[in-house]
C-alpha cells in the first residue's frame, strides 16, 4: 500500500510530508526531488522507480504530489487517490497553490490522517469529511451527532449525510459534451466521437431517491417491444451509447440488470455519469481551414465556419481558436462577424461570436507575419478548437425523465424544481443550452493535412 505522501512546490521544496510505512526512509523525499523534479529531461513516465522505491506523481499547476511505495500496490488506485486528494483539497480551500497549502497545512495533515490509514485509502467524499473535519475548529458535538457522523462515514451512503433540509428543493442537470472530430482535406469526416458528462447539482432535503432516464437505445427498444407503434416513433430518437461510467452513488448492479440509473445523490455538485458515443453524431458546425504560404515569412489563413442546424435555433458564445506558429511576429485579422484578436501569449488567434443562427456562414481571414528563423525546434501543430453552446446535444442525448422520491419527508416529484440544461419534454420554463467543445484538426490528422501541413512545412525550414 501507499507508504508515504509528499507535496512539493515547483522548486522541489517539501511542503507536506506524511510517511505511513516504516520502509519509506527520509531519503525518499530527496530521491524524488533529485531524480524527477530536478531531472534535466522531460518526465517520461508518471511512475518512477528509484532504488526499489516507486514514486507516483501528478502535477497540479506547479505543485507536485507524489505517493511513495515499496510494495506492489494497485497503481490505478494510487493515481485515483491522488486525484481524489486534489479534489478534496480543492473543495476545502480552493485552488491548489503553494500559498494555500502552506496556509492549510494543519488541515491537510488532518485530512491525510483521515483519508489514508496505514496507506489504505478510506472514505474520501468531501460531503462526509466536512461533517467532522472543518477549517473553523471543532464544534462540540452531541452524542447523536457523533454517531451520525461515524455511521455516515462508514455507511453504505458515505457520500451524503442525513438530515439535510432545504426550503426549496432544487435540482440542476447539465449535459456537457465534447466532440472530437477528424476531417480529411476534402471535408470528409474520418472519425468522430462524443464524450459527454452529465453534471448534477442537487439541493434536496432528506435522502431522496432519484431516477434518471435518457433516450438510451437499449432501454427504448426494450420498452418498445410492447407497443410497436412507439418504437417507430422513438426509434430515431434513441442513441446508442458505446460505454458509460457512473458516480459511485449509482447502483451499478441495477444498471447492469435493468439499465436503469437510480441513485441517492450527494449534496451539491457532482458528476453523475460520463458516456461515449460514436454513432450518428450531429455536427453543429463545419470548419473549413485554408492555409496559403506567401514566401518564407508570411502565411495567409482563412477559416470558414458554417452552422449546420435548424435556422430557428441559435448557437451562443462561439469561440474559435486558431493556433499560430511560434515565430509569429504579427497578425492582421479581418472577420465579418464577431471579434477576433491575436493573443501572442497563447500563440493563437481567438475569434469570438456572440450569437449565430442555424444554416449561416461566417469567415475570418488573417495574415500572419513570421520571423525568419532557423530554429530547429518544431511546432507541435495543435488543432483548431472551438467552443460554443447550442440548444441540443450533438450525440442526440435527451433527458427523458428525472424523478425524485423521498420516502420519509414525502415531498413529491412535482415539488422539486428541476433545471435541466438540455431540451427535454419536461417543464416548460427551462433555459436551454449545452456547452460543447469541438476539436478540429488543424494538422495532425491522417490524410487530412494537405492544406494545413503546408503551414507546417513553411515554418520548419
Amino acid at each position: 500500500m501507499i507508504g508515504g505522501l509528499f507535496i512539493y512546490n515547483h522548486k522541489g521544496e517539501v511542503l507536506i510530508s506524511r510517511v505511513y510505512r516504516d520502509d519509506i526512509g527520509r531519503n525518499a523525499v530527496d530521491a524524488f526531488r533529485v531524480n524527477v523534479i530536478h531531472a534535466r529531461q522531460q518526465v517520461r513516465s508518471p511512475v518512477t522507480n528509484i532504488a526499489r522505491t516507486s514514486f507516483f506523481h501528478v502535477k497540479r499547476s506547479n505543485i507536485w504530489l507524489a505517493a511513495v511505495t515499496k510494495q506492489n500496490v494497485n497503481a490505478a488506485m494510487v493515481f485515483e487517490f491522488l486525484y481524489k486528494m486534489c479534489d478534496v483539497m480543492a473543495a476545502y480551500f480552493g485552488k491548489i497553490s503553494e500559498e494555500n497549502i502552506k496556509n492549510n497545512f494543519v488541515l491537510i495533515y488532518e485530512l491525510l490522517d483521515e483519508i489514508l490509514d496505514f496507506g489504505y485509502p478510506q472514505n474520501s467524499e468531501t460531503g462526509a469529511l466536512k461533517t467532522f473535519i472543518t477549517q473553523q475548529g471543532i464544534k462540540s458535538q452531541t452524542k447523536e451527532e457523533q454517531s451520525q457522523i461515524t455511521s455516515q462515514v462508514t455507511g453504505q451512503i458515505g457520500w451524503r449525510r442525513e438530515g439535510i433540509k432545504y426550503r426549496r428543493n432544487e435540482l440542476f442537470l447539465d449535459v456537457l459534451e465534447s466532440v472530437n472530430l477528424l476531417m480529411s482535406p476534402q471535408g470528409q469526416v474520418l472519425s468522430a466521437h462524443v464524450s459527454g458528462r452529465v453534471v448534477m447539482k442537487s439541493y434536496l432535503s432528506g435522502m431522496p431517491e432519484c431516477k434518471f432516464g435518457m433516450n438510451d437505445k437499449i432501454v427504448i427498444e426494450k420498452q418498445g417491444k410492447g407497443t410497436a407503434d412507439e418504437t417507430s416513433k422513438s426509434g430515431k430518437q434513441s442513441i446508442a451509447i458505446d460505454d458509460c461510467t457512473f458516480h459511485q452513488c449509482v447502483r451499478l448492479s441495477k444498471f447492469d440488470s435493468e439499465r436503469s440509473i437510480s441513485f441517492i445523490p450527494p449534496d451539491g455538485e457532482f458528476e453523475l455519469m460520463r458516456y461515449r458515443t460514436t454513432k450518428d453524431i450531429i455536427l453543429p458546425f463545419r470548419v473549413i481551414p485554408l492555409v496559403r504560404e506567401v514566401g518564407r515569412t508570411k502565411l495567409e489563413v482563412k477559416v470558414v465556419i458554417k452552422s449546420n442546424f435548424k435556422p430557428s435555433l441559435l448557437a451562443q458564445k462561439i469561440e474559435v481558436r486558431i493556433p499560430t506558429p511560434l515565430n509569429t511576429s504579427g497578425v492582421q485579422v479581418i472577420c465579418m462577424k464577431g471579434k477576433a484578436k491575436y493573443k501572442a501569449s497563447e500563440n493563437a488567434i481567438v475569434w469570438k461570436i456572440k450569437r449565430m443562427a442555424g444554416m449561416k456562414e461566417s469567415q475570418i481571414s488573417a495574415e500572419i507575419e513570421l520571423l525568419p528563423t532557423n530554429d530547429k525546434k518544431k511546432w507541435a501543430r495543435p488543432p483548431i478548437s472551438m467552443n460554443f453552446e447550442v440548444p441540443f446535444a450533438p450525440s442526440g442525448l435527451k433527458v427523458r425523465y428525472l424523478k425524485v422520491f423521498e420516502p420519509k419527508l414525502n415531498y413529491s416529484d412535482h415539488d422539486v424544481i428541476k433545471w435541466v440544461q438540455v431540451p427535454l419534454p419536461l417543464p416548460p420554463h427551462i433555459s436551454v443550452s449545452s456547452l460543447l467543445l469541438c476539436c478540429l484538426p488543424f494538422a495532425p490528422a491522417p490524410e487530412s493535412r494537405s492544406g494545413p501541413s503546408t503551414l507546417q512545412v513553411g515554418l520548419v525550414e
Binding site: V58, T69, A75, D113, Y120, I138, S195, D242, E447
Partner: protein, 906 residues
C-alpha cells in the same frame, strides 16, 4: 511542518497537552507523537495512559483516533499496551472504530507479527469479514490480504464459496476504495469449477461501469483470470469478451497518468486475448496533446493490433508520427513501420516506400532508424526489396549510432555481390575499427568474411586485416573468439566456411518484445498493480518476502483437452488434481495445449531478436563443423568422420544441447552410428547394369551423411574407373568426395564403400520428395537408377528447439499445416521412444502426462533449415500412438512420419 527543525526536545511539554478536549489540538499532539516517539521511546511511555483512556472515550471519533495513532507508534514497549484497547476496539459497537481497528491489526502485525498471532487478533479479523458494515469488511479484507502476503503458506484468507458470497455482497455497498480491496482479494481466489467462475464474473461485471478506473481495472483482472476457466463454447464467454472492450476504451479518456497505467495493462491484455480489442484500433491513435508517455504506449499497442484489415489506416498514422517533434516517439514510429511490413505481408511494399520517403527527409535519426528496420525487412522478404540498397548506401556517412552502423554493415556484407564497391564501403568502416562499439565490430568482422567468401580474389587483404584486428588487437573475448573461428574455418576449408557463414538464415519472428507466456500469465494476475506497469513480476522490484508469492492463472477446467477426448476428468477438478505440468519451467506446455486449440491468434509470442539469432546460429554451425574437423585433420574431406574416435572420452558432461547430442550418439543405442540404418537393399540389379550390382543404404553419423554402397562385380571382366553423380534433388544431396574404388574390381569381387554426402548440391523438388536419381559410371557403361532415401538422414544435430521457441513456432504455424498420423504396433513407452528418436536427431523438447497419456513434444530440423514440430501421443497399453506434425513446409510431413515409423519400429 516543522520546517525541517528537530523539535523532539519539546516531547514532555507536548505530551502534557495530550489530555485536551479540543479534538484539533489532540490530533496535532498525536501527529507529533507519531513523528517523534521513535526517537524518545522512554518518554513515549508517558503517553500510553492517555491512549488507553482515549480508547474508552464516549466519542467514537476519539476512540478511533487513539487506536489509529497507537498503531503508528512503532515502539516495542507501547505495543504491549496496545493489545487490550485494540481487542476492545475490534468489537466496538461503532463501525467507524471497528474499521480503524481492523487496519490497526495490520499495523501491529508489521511491528510484531508474533504478538498478533499469539493474541488471536487474526481470528477476530477474520470474523470481521462477516461484519454488517461494508467498510469494516473492506478494511478487514485489505488487512488480511496484506498479512497473508507475508505468510504465503498460511491459509489466512480462507476463501470459500460462503465467504466469497459475503464479499460479493459487500462489494455492492462499500466505497470505491473498499471495492478495490475486495476485487483484488477476489482475484486471488480460484473457483472450484467453471460454473462458480461464471457466477462470480456475472456479479463482478457491473463494476466495469464504475467511475473509478482502479475499480474497473481490478474488475478486469478478476474477469481475465476467471475467464481462463470458462469454456470457449459458452455463450457467456463471448458476451464477456464483448463486455470487456468498452470499459477499456473508456479508460483512455481518463487523466493522462491513469491512461498510462491503463495502456500498460491493455498492452498485456492485447497479448493475452487479442480478440477483445481487435476492432478498436482507432482509439489508440495518438492525440496531439497526449503526454509523451501516453503516446509511446499507444504506439506500442497500435503495432500489436495492426492487421491486414486496418493496415492502411495505421500506416497513414505512423507516417504522420514520423514527422512529429519528440525524437523517441519518431524513432519508435519509424520502427513501427518496419514492424508492420514484417507483420502484414501485403503492406510490405507500402511500408518500404514509406521508409524510403522518410530516408529522403535526411533527418539523421529517422534515417538511422529506417536502416535498422529495413535490415529486418530484408531478412523477412529476401530477394524482394534489394533495389533500395543504393538509396541506403547514399546515407552511409550520416550514420553515427552503433545499431544503424551495424545494420548497414550487415546489409553491405549480405549483399556484397550486388554492391560494386562493397569492399570500399567496408574498408571505410574498418579504419576506425577500434573506436567502434562491439556490436559494430562483430558485424564488420562477419560482413567482411561474407564479402571475402563472395569475392575471394579482391578482398584477401581486407579479410586478413580484419581477422588480425579482431584476434590480435582486441580485448573483447566475443570478438576474438568469433575471429578465431572464422580464421580457422577459412584456413581449413573454405567450402565449409561458405556453408557456415553464408548459410540460409532462419526466419525472423513477426512480433517483437512479446512477453514470455509464463510471465504474461503471471502479469495478468497483477492487472492494475505496479507489476503490470513495469511489466515485471513483483519479485523484481519488491524487497524481502512481501509480494513475491508466485501467482498463476487458474487452469481451465472444462478444458480444451476434454473437448478432444470424451473421457475426461470431471469438469471442476480442483487445481491440485490437474495434470501436473512440468514444474521447473512453469506452465509453458499447459499453455501450448490451450493455445493450439484456441482461436487463431494474430501474433505468436516470440523470441530473440534477429541479430542475436544470427549470431547463435553462426557459432552453432561453426562449432559443429569444427568438431567434425578435428579427427580427420587436414585431409580435406572433413565430412567422413569416423564416429567413435571423434569424441574425446573426457568430455563427459553434456554442455550444451548441441554437444550433448554428439555424445548421445556415440554412447547411443548400441550401434556405432547414431541414426537408424536400414539394411542394405539392392538398388541396381546386375542384369540391368551389365553385371554390376549395387546395393546400399544411407547413414548419418555425427553430423555427416553418407551413402554406404556395396559394389559387386557379377560380370566376367574387371571393372575400373568408377564414378558417381546425382541428379538434382529436393534437399541438394550431392557426393562430397569422388567415388573411390582403389583397386580394379575383379569378377565376383565385392567392395564396400562409404560415400560421404553433402547437402549443398543444387536443389530441385522431386516427386516423391525423397527420390534420388543416381548415375554410376565405370569402364563399361553409365548406369542410372533411382532410390528413395529415408528422411531421417537429413535430421541435423542441432534440431533441438528451446521450449519457448517451440511454443511460439507451434502457434505461429497455421493449423492447416498440421498433419496427423497413426503409428501402429509400436509398443514403446515414452522414455524408450524418446531415446530412440533422439539417437536419430528427433529431440524431445518437453514431456507431459495428460489423462494417462504421455505427450512428447519434439522438434527436428532438416539440413535445409526446415523445422518440423511434432507431438507424439503415447497411451500406455495401447500399441498404436498418434503423431501430429506441424511444419511450414507441409509436404515433408508424410516423409517425416515414415521416418518416425521406421525409427520407432526398429
Amino acid at each position: 511542518m516543522t520546517v525541517g527543525k528537530d523539535v523532539s526536545a519539546l516531547f514532555p511539554d507536548v505530551v502534557n497537552c495530550m489530555q485536551t478536549d479540543n479534538l484539533e489540538l489532540k490530533k496535532l499532539v498525536y501527529l507529533y507523537l507519531m513523528n517523534y516517539a521513535k526517537s524518545q521511546p522512554d518518554m513515549a511511555i508517558m503517553a500510553v495512559n492517555t491512549f488507553v483512556k482515549d480508547c474508552e472515550d464516549p466519542n467514537p471519533l476519539i476512540r478511533a483516533l487513539a487506536v489509529r495513532t497507537m498503531g503508528c507508534i512503532r515502539v516495542d514497549k507501547i505495543t504491549e499496551y496496545l493489545c487490550e484497547p485494540l481487542r476492545k476496539c475490534l468489537k466496538d459497537e461503532d463501525p467507524y472504530v471497528r474499521k480503524t481497528a481492523a487496519v490497526c491489526v495490520a499495523k501491529l502485525h508489521d511491528i510484531n507479527a508474533q504478538l498478533v498471532e499469539d493474541q488471536g487478533f487474526l481470528d477476530t479479523l477474520k470474523d470481521l469479514i462477516s461484519d454488517s458494515n461494508p467498510m469494516v469488511v473492506a478494511n478487514a479484507v485489505a488487512a488480511l490480504s496484506e498479512i497473508a502476503e507475508s505468510h504465503p503458506s498460511s491459509n489466512l484468507l480462507d476463501l470459500n464459496p460462503q465467504s466469497i458470497n459475503k464479499l460479493l455482497t459487500a462489494l455492492n455497498e462499500c466505497t470505491e476504495w473498499g471495492q478495490i480491496f475486495i476485487l483484488d482479494c477476489l482475484a486471488n481466489y480460484t473457483p472450484k469449477d467453471d460454473r462458480e467462475a461464471q457466477s462470480i464474473c456475472e456479479r463482478v461485471t457491473p463494476r466495469l461501469s464504475h467511475a473509478n478506473s482502479a475499480v474497473v481495472l481490478s474488475a478486469v483482472k478478476v474477469l481475465m483470470k476467471f475467464m481462463e476457466m470458462l469454456s470457449k463454447d459458452l455463450d457467456y464467454y463471448g458476451t464477456l469478451l464483448k463486455k470487456l472492450a468498452p470499459p477499456l476504451v473508456t479508460l483512455l479518456s481518463a487523466e493522462p497518468e491513469l491512461q498510462y497505467v491503463a495502456l500498460r495493462n491493455i498492452n498485456l491484455i492485447v497479448q493475452k486475448r487479442p480478440e477483445i480489442l481487435k476492432h478498436e484500433m482507432k482509439v489508440f491513435f495518438v492525440k496531439y496533446n497526449d503526454p509523451i508517455y501516453v503516446k509511446l504506449e499507444k504506439l506500442d499497442i497500435m503495432i500489436r493490433l495492426a492487421s491486414q484489415a486496418n493496415i492502411a489506416q495505421v500506416l497513414a498514422e505512423l507516417k504522420e508520427y514520423a514527422t512529429e517533434v519528440d525524437v523517441d516517439f519518431v524513432r519508435k514510429a519509424v520502427r513501427a513501420i518496419g514492424r508492420c511490413a514484417i507483420k502484414v505481408e501485403q503492406s510490405a511494399e507500402r511500408c518500404v516506400s514509406t521508409l524510403l520517403d522518410l530516408i529522403q527527409t535526411k533527418v539523421n535519426y529517422v534515417v538511422q532508424e529506417a536502416i535498422v528496420v529495413i535490415k529486418d525487412i530484408f531478412r523477412k522478404y529476401p530477394n524482394k526489396y534489394e533495389s533500395v540498397i543504393a538509396t541506403l548506401c547514399e546515407n552511409l556517412d550520416s550514420l553515427d549510432e552503433p545499431e544503424a552502423r551495424a545494420a548497414m554493415i550487415w546489409i553491405v556484407g549480405e549483399y556484397a555481390e550486388r554492391i560494386d564497391n562493397a569492399d570500399e564501403l567496408l574498408e571505410s568502416f574498418l579504419e576506425g575499427f577500434h573506436d567502434e562499439s562491439t556490436q559494430v565490430q562483430l558485424q564488420l568482422l562477419t560482413g567482411i568474411v561474407k564479402l571475402f567468401l563472395k569475392k575471394p580474389t579482391e578482398t584477401q587483404e581486407l579479410v586478413q586485416q580484419v581477422l588480425s584486428l579482431a584476434t590480435q588487437d582486441s580485448d573483447n573475448p566475443d570478438l576474438r573468439d568469433r575471429g578465431y573461428i572464422y580464421w580457422r574455418l577459412l584456413s581449413t576449408d573454405p567450402v565449409a566456411a561458405k556453408e557456415v557463414v553464408l548459410a540460409e538464415k532462419p526466419l525472423i519472428s513477426e512480433e517483437t518484445d512479446l512477453i514470455e507466456p509464463t510471465l504474461l500469465d503471471e502479469l495478468i494476475c497483477y492487472i492494475g498493480t505496479l507489476a503490470s506497469v513495469y511489466h515485471k513480476p513483483p519479485s523484481a522490484f519488491v524487497e524481502g518476502g512481501r509480494g513475491v508469492v508466485h501467482k498463476s492463472l487458474p487452469p481451465r477446467t472444462a478444458s480444451s483437452e476434454s473437448a478432444e477426448s470424451p473421457e475426461t476428468a470431471p469438469a471442476g477438478a480442483p487445481p491440485g488434481e490437474q495434470p501436473d505440468v512440468i514444474p521447473a519451467q512453469g506452465d509453458l506446455l499447459g499453455d501450448l495445449l490451450n493455445l493450439d486449440l484456441g482461436p487463431p491468434v494474430s501474433g505468436p509470442p516470440l523470441t530473440t531478436s534477429s541479430v542475436q539469432m544470427g549470431a547463435v546460429d553462426l557459432l552453432g554451425g561453426g562449432l559443429d563443423s569444427l568438431m567434425g574437423d578435428e579427427p580427420e585433420g587436414i585431409g580435406g574431406t572433413n565430412f567422413v568422420a569416423p564416429p567413435t574416435a571423434a569424441v574425446p572420452a573426457s568430455l563427459g558432461a553434456p554442455i550444451s544441447s548441441g554437444l550433448s547430442d554428439l555424445f548421445d550418439l556415440t554412447s547411443g543405442v548400441g550401434t556405432l552410428s547414431g541414426s537408424y540404418v536400414a539394411p542394405k537393399a539392392v538398388w541396381l540389379p546386375a542384369m540391368k547394369a551389365k553385371g554390376l550390382e549395387i546395393s546400399g543404404t544411407f547413414t548419418r553419423q555425427v553430423g555427416s551423411i553418407s551413402m554406404d554402397l556395396q559394389l559387386t562385380n557379377k560380370a566376367l571382366q574387371v571393372m575400373t574407373d568408377f564414378a558417381i553423380q546425382f541428379n538434382r534433388n529436393s534437399f541438394g544431396l550431392a557426393p562430397a568426395a569422388p567415388l573411390q574404388v582403389h583397386a580394379p574390381l575383379s569378377p565376383n569381387q565385392t567392395v564396400e564403400i562409404s560415400l560421404p554426402l553433402s547437402t549443398v548440391g543444387s536443389v530441385m523438388k522431386m516427386e516423391p520428395l525423397n527420390n534420388l536419381q543416381v548415375a554410376v559410371k565405370n569402364n563399361i557403361d553409365v548406369f542410372y537408377f533411382s532410390t528413395l532415401y529415408p528422411l531421417h538422414i537429413l535430421f541435423v544435430e542441432d534440431g533441438k528447439m528451446d521450449r519457448q521457441m517451440f511454443l511460439a513456432t507451434w502457434k505461429d504455424i497455421p493449423n492447416e499445416n498440421e498433419a496427423q498420423f497413426q503409428i501402429r504396433d509400436c509398443p514403446l513407452n515414452a522414455e524408450a521412444a524418446s531415446s530412440k528418436l533422439q539417437s536419430s536427431n528427433i529431440f524431445t523438447v518437453a514431456k507431459r502426462n495428460v489423462e494417462g497419456q504421455d505427450m512428447l513434444y519434439q522438434s527436428l530440423k532438416l539440413t535445409n533449415g526446415i523445422w518440423v514440430l511434432a507431438e507424439l501421443r503415447i497411451q500406455p497399453g495401447n500399441p498404436s500412438c498418434t503423431l501430429s506434425l506441424k511444419c511450414r513446409a507441409p509436404e515433408v510431413s508424410q516423409h517425416v512420419y515414415q521416418a518416425y515409423e521406421t525409427i520407432l519400429k526398429n
